[in-house]
Structure formats: structure tokens, C-alpha cells
Symmetry: D2
């Protein structure tokens, strides 16, 4: 258990599938104090995402303390397709469509982020596990945002490896490449990409079996929301998937934020996102070769202790505390 | 030893470094009949490339039988930089600058390729281990070229992995992305990319030591031409290199052409090259996910038996025959 | 004098040079009720623009009734250069740097536009004589904005003619081509471009002489703010300028909004703005040929009664009422 | 009649419609010695173009002296559409499909241009009234071509005005924008664009009536080949056309080459062609503003004496000599 003050966190999410697990980690960990959840355009139709986030906060028992702020309902400029074929209709596996009755906060997510950052300079950590539209709009509104935020963790990009929505691109960056480009240009961030997700976050039969025996609400919820994605992965053409597995991009991002020594390897590179429509929309050039003039500014997580990450998740499902065994 | 008729081969090369080893394989193998060597803009200034090719053919004892045809001295449209920082000045390690006195053929390489293909429909194999300018120009001159050639092997591209000249691109495709795009669009080819080169063709200390003890002309030549590249690799930021190693993209391409069962894995994908200047110039989208509408047409070599490839090369250095142990 | 209800107007401006004349027209005409002035990134540093607008409203005697709302301080995504070489340092000819002491409204310009449009659906006219960043951001916040606004007039683009900041582009569209593209895609607008500005709005010696004899504050102000631009035009390489003339893009836009029968010719075309950086950044394709699939949606003002426009301006300088002779 | 030596001319054409009139001018004028006609991909299917050129040379009585060289059958890289909807099927109005039986030269057009230029350095004028594929390929083959040719006249581009195939582009540049870009970058040329064509080359009813009374083969031929284009223009959305008129881009280019004092205004600008697919494919940035860093190198014909041009054409139709009244 950490003796330090919990970090103050805002979580920006397009809540579907693994976003829920990231919300649970943020809500149930004592390492962070989750102050608000902001919703960004992404995986599934906006209203589903809002309800999914509220439902998950409620499941974690924090719905009264943590408000949901509705943000950008579309990318800055481009059109995109939802990923319901991955996460199931509605984003929670295809069978669960919450109607919580919980009210959203009045304030727009972008205004909320800007206000909180101005009121608490150097205090707030932002975790972005969605397309980066909200953060890009907050930056447009407040150019000093990079100085006002303490820390930014992002799930996005495919670092010199096969993407997931196209061969060139990962979904979050692809949905709003203009926002991704602007954010990667302006902020120093920690990046958890699709590559490390595939290498180090896969859950397989042993996890599924363990979870199936737990008989907790959280275990049950995990099995529900992974129903569609397991089928999707089983049929994937990606050689690294193509089996009954789940990927945990968003929850692994939160896990490394909560317990940074899960990170086995990381290095800081220049990153530039391709904002052009076409072949390479959303491609993230990560200059591992050091051949561009770009200043290295993005800490790329290259290797994560997958066993320990798995333990965190199982601890959470069984004991409601991701740091139970820590 | 193969009982079948040797395949009739034209080799298109920007002769520097490992191109020489590919020429040696083609000249010394009885599996192919090398009919001509065509020179394309690429690694080092054109006149060096021409002399390097002639010198290598002479070393293989075939300079009287195999003519060198000079081709495109620049890409179709774009400018580029030589790679002398990789291969040493002149392209043969930095100390060797041949002046053979051998005459080039009168015919332009592009005209030669077109004429030979028309005269021998369905008979000729083309191996391209250079930027694809000559082949693209031949296609422009003769739109039926895809039907006239029997087989095409290409070294180029970086298949969903880190490139070598930029993070997005491999050198041959980057030098002339317009040509690479046109060629990949029009022809069915076998592609040996930079990724499989790094994974399966690295030579290390054991090879260097073996070669050092051989005391043959070919062994000596290998050590000369790898002098600069070993130093370059030792200082590379690419995690897969960064040691005293050599890479054999061109010779591994020829080796797999000569002994196709070196190929452990291959699959046919849709490939599209990015011809735009900028971030992703020369990037090759290889649709492993099957998400584009493109028709799969390029057989991508995904895994090569590196031990056997090494044995071929050592057999050639020691015995002058790459198939000596075969 | 119009017997109809005055139109309710919000004016979005990057106040420098001719923007002031447009503000005066909007403030002094009884055909519109100017409800707010919003400031957008553009001609000169943002703080100058804000002060220039306040100074002009004060000159028109409406500073107490019409608030200034500060908006986007930078384009959506791209960088740009100020046009102080056209309008003089500070934007009012180079000698005048107002410090009005007037407070800006608390509300951000984008929030103001969105709120007013929601509160008054179908009631408000928006005149945009600046880069379109504020309007694009308002659209991002409120996707129904096209239905909520009654009418939109835009000064921008170069319709199949020479631009002013580059051969391909007019300044407002060039500064924020992403915003211009988004706005032209989403809204039905009336467009006053740089071409009709050059053809029909030039003021020459006779106007200058007339204004010089007037001895009114507004006449004096006009002479002050055109000081720099007259010198700039005299040295222009554009054959249509290259003399001691002024151009009135913004005031002519307002004039046609106030007295629509100034418009001699107009037609509705499909318009698409080039948002790519490079050669054609900010280029506006206006499909006069009807060859694209785009739906015609932009009413392009092709010819304006320049004499009558001149009379409006002279009436305003002399009598404080642009419709004095009408 | 000129007392100077006739200029030695190669004419590169995609023979359809007005190309024939340019061939007639070149063949019948004593100011030039037409040495060869090269055919480039363009207006109509290649075989039609070849036959149209031969037929026209035969009509001019020079088919025995001037050979037709077949060149590029497709652009360097991109696909395009024929313009048979302008010129009629086959390119000669829709009713005339010549079968001359004349043999083409053996040599490829590109090889012919390169060989002639090398053999006659500084002697040859090239007139290009087609997409610029042949010239770009010749440049690729012989980088010194800009020094070897004496003079180059090009019909192409739309100089800061409405194009003809798209709002942004003229047909020749649009068909092969890569070639156009390469040519405009490498060569000093005289450019006759679509704008000056529309402004100064229109033929109307008075010309048609004059030609109808002539009863010569050439007059008859003119009426035949303009049949389709007159109908096309009558229905054009371009305000400058939209009547029973013909445009003479190619013949006006040749006319100004033959009698340079037809040119009333010309200036030298930096020109850059947009080679990207999409909105502005084939757009020619002509830097009349002097705002780019590009070196002015292209002499743009801005105004032509249309009356005198008309007289040349009528002299040719009536007397077989375009300089009859000169
Ligand atoms: Ca997410
Ligand atoms: Ca090579
Ligand atoms: Ca303005
Ligand atoms: Ca033509």
C-alpha cells in the first residue's frame, strides 16, 4: 500500500469494453483519487458511452462522488466508424444496456478539464483512454494546459507495429488523428500503445477460468463485457490474436499509472501522428531510429510485467482492490 | 543439385554492400542462369554502382558472359539521399573503388528488360534488389510486362515494423516511392522485407570468425564490403541491431529465390506503398488484418531458415557454390 | 429606411483595418441590431484585435450596449503568420494603439455563440469576417448549429482567381483551413470572396479626396486605418491592385448583408476548402463547372454594385448613417 | 515572310480536335521545319490519336516527310479519363475515323526526342500540346535535356483562373500531374494556359460563317472537327463559354510560336504543379504575387492578339498559308 498522497485523477474515456475495467481500477485503487470522468466520442454511440461509465462508477460504489462530464460528440474534423463490431452493440458485450438514471454534470467535459487545470495548477493527472478530442479542444481553449497538468497518460497509437483498425493505425488515434497529432505535439505524455497491449496484456483461458469461479459482481461484469471481444479476437487475422483471448489496452494503461513499476522498459521518443485522410490516417511515427529532427517528448511504454498486471486485475475482481497482493 | 532447367534471371541492383553478395549467388548458383545485370539509382553514386557490379561479376568469373546494363540514374520524380553512411564511400566498405575497364552494354536497362520480356514471354525471372525505378519505367513502356515476366522477387518495404531509413520506411521503397507503388500495384511478386531481414538474416561473430579463416577471394571480399556496415549497425538505435552484426537483405532475397524451401512462412497480402512526400514516404501498408478492399497479390516472406541461409553463404565463400551442402 | 424588424446580428471579427469599417456599418445601421462582437484569431496579435473592436464600438457610440467576447486565440490546428505588414502594427494603420479600459464579456466567444443560438433558434444572423475558428468550434460543440442560426455571411476564399496570401488562397481561409473546410461543409452561407472584393470594392483617389474634406470622426478614422494598406496595395504585384487603392472585403460583406440588393449577381455552388498544408492550403474549390458530386450550398456573391457601396460608406462617414441616401 | 532560317520543331500531341489545327499550322508554316510528330496519352484512345495525326499530316501534304512517333500510352503514374465528351468519339468530331495505312516510325517517341536532342544540341524547339508524359520520360532518360533543347512551348495549366476538367485544373496538367510538375520544375518554358485560351482564342459565328463559305479541304476539316466541341461549349457551365463557340488552345500555342508578336503581354513566374490526387490534382500555382521562394522560370502568355490569330487561321483555311496576310 502506498504511503504517499493519492494522485488526483481525471479519466477521459469512450466507455465500452475495457474502458470499464480502467474505470474500476481508477475508482477502486487508493493510489489515485478519481475526481471526474469525462466522455469522449469513440467506440460506440455517445449516449451508450455515458451510461456505461455511470453504470461502472455505480458498480464501484462511487457514483455519488464522481460525476460524469459529457464532452465532444464527434472528432475535431473527420468522420469515423464506431467499433461496435469489437465490443458488441452498446459496448458492453452486446447484452447489457444500462439505464442508470444518474444525471450528468452540467459542465461540458472540455470546460471541466480547463477549469480544474486552471484551479489546480500542477496538481492533476489526466488519463486518456479514448480518442483525444476532448484534450485537443481543452488545449485549444487553454494553450497553457501543458504547464497546468501534472501528468498525462494516453492509450493510443501503434509503435512501429501492426495497428488494429488499419494496418497503419490504432483506433483511438485513427478516430481523431487531428486531435492525436495536436496532443502529441503539445504535451509530454506517457504512451501505452497497441503493440505493448498485444505483447503484454493478453488474457487467456486460465484467467477466464479463474474469473468464472469467483462469483463476485466485478468478475461477472468482466465476463459480460468480454463476451463479444473474445469472439472478435478468435476470428482476427492478426497473428498475435486469432484465439480466445482478451486485450486490455485501457486497464493496462491505468494499471501502469497506478503501479508504475509494472513498466519493465520505456524510452522517450519523438512521436508524430499522421492527420491526413487515406492510407496512413492516424499512423504514429515513433522515431526509434533517431533520424528526425523532432524532440523526444513521449515516454513510450515498451514492456509491461504482464503477470503482475494479471494479478492486479484478478485481485480487483476477487477482493475489490487491485493492490490487494501488492 | 537441382535436376530442373535453371531459371533465366535478370538481376536489378544498386550495387553496394550486400548487393554484391546477391550478384555472387546469382552468378555462382546452377539453379539460375544469370542473363543480365541492370543497374538502378540507389545506394551510392551511379558510376560506383556500375563498377561495383562489374567487379563482382568479374570476381565470380562471369564478366564475359553477363553484361551490365545501365538504367535509371534518378527516381521517377523525387529526390533522395545516398546511403554511403551505411555502405562506406563507393559502396564497398569505403576502401575499395574498382576500375574494371569493362564496357557496359549499349542498351538502356529499361529497354533491355522490355525487349527480353517481349522476346521471351513467360520465361524470365526478375530479381529487384534496388529501388524499383527501372521496373516502373519498363512497365510504363510495356503495360503487358506483368504477363510477360514469369516471376518477380523484390527486396523492399518494412512489413508492419520499424523501417531503416525512416521509422515508416525501408530504403528501397523510400528512394522511389512512386515506382514502388506502381510496381506493387501492377505485379504479383514475392517480397522480402526489412523486417524478415532483421529477424532472420543477421550474421554475427561466429560467421565473421568462420569467414576470416577461409582464405578465399570471396571470403576476403565479404569481409571488405561489410567493414562499414558492421560499424554502422553497432551504433544503430534500432534495438534489433545495435551490435557487431551484418544484415543480408539482398543476398537473402536471392537465396530464397534459389532455394525456395528456405522460406518457413509466407502469406499473400494486399500491399500499397505511400508515394506522398513527408512523414510516411515509402511506407508499405501490408494488409495483414484484411480490412482494406485491396486484392491480395504480394507473397510476403515472413520467416526464413536463417541457419540454412548462413550455410549457403558460407558454402559460397568456402567452395564457390552456395548449394555445396544442399 | 427599412420598415421591417432589424435583423439580430453577431459579428465575428479579427479586428484590424477594414474590420473596423464593418463594425461601424453593423453598429450604425438600423437594418440590424448588433448583439455582440466576437473576436477570432487572425490579422494581428489577439489583444490588439480586442482593443480595436472596443475602440470602434466606442467610436460608434455603442460600447455600452454591445459586448466584446474573446474567442479562439489560435486556429484549430495549424500555425500561421499575422498580416501586420498589410494593416500596420496593431492593425489600425500603424500609429493608433487604443487602450479603452472597456472590459470584455466573461463568456468565451464560442460559448456565447452556442448559447445565443440555442436560446434564439432561427433568430440570429452571424457575419464572419475573420478566420472561421470560432464558428468551427461552435459547430463542434453544437452540431445542430446549422439549424439554429438563421443566416450566415462570410468574407473568405478566392473564387477561381488569384488569392491574396498565396496565389491559391485568401487570408481568412488560409489562416485556418481546417475551420474553413468544416464551416463550408456544414453551413449554408453567403460568401463574399477576395475576387469580388478586388473587382467591385476598390476605393481610389476620388474617395480619398471626398473623405479628406469631411471633417468627421469617422472620416478621420477611415483615413487613419487605411494608411498602411494603401501603401501596401501600391506596391502589390497583383495586377488588379498595384496602385493607391483600398480594398473593402469586410465592409462590403456587411454592406451586402445590410442592403442585399447591392448584389448584382450571385449563384449557388459546391465549395470545398483544402485543409492540407502546402501548396494549396486554404484553396477554395468553387465548382462553377458542376463537375463534382458536391451539393451546391454556398451562395457566392459574384458582382456587387460598387458605386452604391461607395455611396453607403461615404454616407456613413459624412452622416453617420450608411443608409442616408437610400 | 520571315527571312530567318525556319526553326526545327518537334510537335508532341494527343491528336484530337484542336491538336489537328496545331499540326496544320506547324506543317504549313514556313517559319518552322516540322521534323517529327510524337503522340502522347491524352484526349482519346491512343490508336485514334495516332491515326488522327497521320490523317492531318496527310491533309497538309507532308505525311511522307514527317513521321509519327508513338509515345507513352498512359501517364507516369495515375489513371485518368478520356475527353471524348468534348471532342466526339475518336476525337475528330465524332463522325470521322481515319484509317490512313501510314506506318508509324519504329522508334519510341521518348527515345526519338532524346536522340534528336542529343544529336542536335541547342537546335530543336519542342511544342507540347498534350499531357507532358513523353517529355517527363525523356527528362528521366536524359537529365541534360533542359540544356539540349533550344525552346519549349507548352499548352497547359489554368493560371489563377477556372480550369476546364476541374475548377482547379486544366486537362493536360490534370491527366499527368506528375509529369507536369517534373517538366515545370526542370525546364524553362513558354506557357499558353487555359485562361488566355478562353480570353483570346474564342471563335464565334462570324468565323464559322466565313469558313463555311470557303470550300477548301482545310475549311471543311475545321468544320468537321469542331462539330462536337461547339455543342459541348454551348452547354458549358463556364460563364466564359456557354455559347456556340470554339476554343483553340493548341493552335493558339502554335500560332504564338510561329508569330511571337501575337503575344501582347507575358511575364515570367514561378510555377508549381500539384501532383497529389484529390481536390487540386493538376492545379498550377503561378506565383503572380511573388510570395513563394520559387525561382521564376516560366514565361506565361497573358494576352494574345485574338484578331490576328483569327486572321492566321482563316488565311490557313483559305490559302493554305497561315502567314498569307502577314
Ligand atoms: Ca477506450
Ligand atoms: Ca540493393
Ligand atoms: Ca477581417
Ligand atoms: Ca492537345
Amino acid at each position: 500500500m502506498s504511503s504517499t498522497e493519492p494522485r488526483r485523477l481525471i479519466l477521459d474515456t469512450d466507455t465500452a469494453g475495457d474502458d470499464t475495467q480502467a474505470i474500476l481500477l481508477a475508482a477502486l485503487s487508493d493510489r489515485v483519487s478519481l475526481e471526474g470522468v469525462t466522455i469522449c466520442t469513440g467506440n460506440v454511440p455517445f449516449e451508450y458511452q455515458v451510461e456505461n461509465a455511470k453504470y461502472t462508477l455505480d458498480l464501484a460504489g462511487v457514483a455519488d462522488d464522481v460525476s460524469v462530464y459529457e464532452g465532444a460528440r464527434s472528432p475535431l474534423l473527420k468522420e469515423y466508424d464506431f467499433a461496435e463490431y469489437v465490443h458488441g452493440e452498446g459496448g458492453l458485450g452486446g447484452e447489457l444496456f444500462p439505464e442508470t438514471g444518474i444525471e450528468s454534470a452540467d459542465e461540458h467535459a472540455v470546460d471541466y478539464i480547463v477549469r480544474k487545470a486552471r484551479e489546480n495548477p500542477g496538481e492533476l493527472t489526466l488519463a486518456c483512454i479514448a480518442p483525444l478530442t476532448n484534450l485537443a479542444l481543452a488545449l485549444q481553449r487553454e494553450p497553457d494546459l501543458p504547464e497546468l497538468l501534472e501528468d498525462i497518460w494516453i492509450m493510443g497509437g501503434a509503435v512501429n507495429t501492426l495497428g488494429n483498425i488499419t494496418p497503419a493505425a490504432e483506433y483511438n488515434f485513427w478516430v481523431d488523428p487531428d486531435a492525436a497529432r495536436a496532443v502529441m505535439d503539445a504535451f509530454e505524455t506517457t504512451l501505452v500503445d497497441w503493440g505493448v497491449t498485444v505483447r503484454d496484456s493478453l488474457f487467456e483461458a486460465d484467467v477466464f477460468e479463474a474469473v468464472e469461479t469467483m462469483d463476485t459482481e466485478l468478475a461477472e461484469f468482466y465476463l459480460t463485457i468480454t463476451d463479444a471481444v473474445r469472439e472478435f479476437n478468435a476470428q482476427s487475422e492478426d497473428d498475435s490474436l486469432g484465439a480466445d483471448v482478451t486485450t486490455q489496452p485501457d486497464s493496462m494503461t491505468l494499471a501502469t499509472l497506478l503501479e508504475p513499476d509494472l513498466i519493465e522498459e520505456a524510452a522517450t521518443y519523438y512521436v508524430e501522428v499522421d492527420d491526413r485522410d487515406g492510407l496512413t490516417r492516424g499512423y504514429s511515427l515513433v522515431d526509434e531510429l533517431g533520424v528526425t529532427d523532432g524532440v523526444p517528448r513521449t515516454r513510450v511504454v515498451e514492456s509491461v510485467d504482464g503477470d503482475r498486471f494479471e494479478r492486479m486485475m484478478l485481485d480487483m475482481y476477487r477482493h475489490g482492490d487491485p493492490h490487494y497482493s501488492a
